[in-house]
């Protein structure tokens, strides 16, 4: 057991429990806060995997911007807790069962059937250093220039779309 492994297991435990917490909280606000925690742990995983840029993006965009937006909307709508309902009574057990099957299938597939791969050992210097940022930038603005620009347009469209959708119709 190395330190890495111990750290990973602890973080994995936190990650799964916050995810479950998000899933099981009756109150939406709690769900959101659990999710923030989950995102942060995932960000730490990214750091462990030698992806500092993605980790930063995870924290700022996901844990920061997106989840704050969620919280805003929850507060705005004031529907933190929904009344119980008995529509689709078999939905929950069926979903749980299927999810369990899915998890089992996935893990089995990954552990047994998949080609065994090397452990994540000593990440490459280029990747696992502050050079990572520079290299990312280079790739992003050369090879992936077009997708990058398209993404910017997508964001613009989303922005305009959101504004148009929520804009009050003039009578």
């Amino acid at each position: 057991m190395t330190v890495d492994l111990i750290l990973f297991l602890i973080l994995a435990l936190v990650s799964v429990s916050t995810a479950l917490g998000m899933l099981l909280s009756r109150n939406t606000v709690y769900s959101a806060l659990f999710l923030v925690l989950n995102f942060v742990t995932v960000a730490v995983f990214y750091l462990l995997l030698g992806a500092p840029f993605i980790a930063m993006a995870q924290v700022t965009v996901y844990a920061g911007a997106i989840m704050v937006l969620f919280l805003f909307v929850i507060m705005l709508l004031g529907t933190e807790v929904l009344p119980a309902s008995n529509i689709l009574p078999w939905q929950k057990p069926l979903a749980g069962g299927l999810a369990a099957v899915l998890a089992v299938e996935a893990i089995y597939l990954l552990l047994v059937r998949a080609r065994s791969v090397a452990q994540v050992t000593s990440p490459d210097v280029a990747i696992n250093s502050m050079d990572n940022l520079r290299e990312m930038g280079k790739v992003l603005f050369s090879t992936y220039l077009l997708p990058f620009e398209v993404t910017s347009i997508l964001l613009l469209v989303a922005m305009v779309g959101a504004i148009v959708l929520t804009k009050k119709e003039k009578a």
Partner: protein, 100 residues
Amino acid sequence: MVPVNYYIILSAILFTIGAVGVLIRRNPLVIFMSVELMLNAANLAMVAFSSVYKSFSGQIFVFFVIAVAAAEVAVGLALIVEIFKTKHNINVDEMNSLKG
């Protein structure tokens, strides 16, 4: 060091939890959050593979996913707000106008 399989198993578990959340919660906001969780699970797998294969592609992909997720959330939340405005309710179980 941590075998990459562990990361993948974690990713699968998180993904399953997200999927269950989409299926059993009636609040669209929580459903939305579950979707985000699933995205994260996938991201995690990709970054793990990126690390194994020592390639930037996985990370770049994740970067785009994050950007798209941001856009998606913006539009999605706007839609939810709009639905709430017209229906004064956001319970998905009461929205079945698609019924044939």
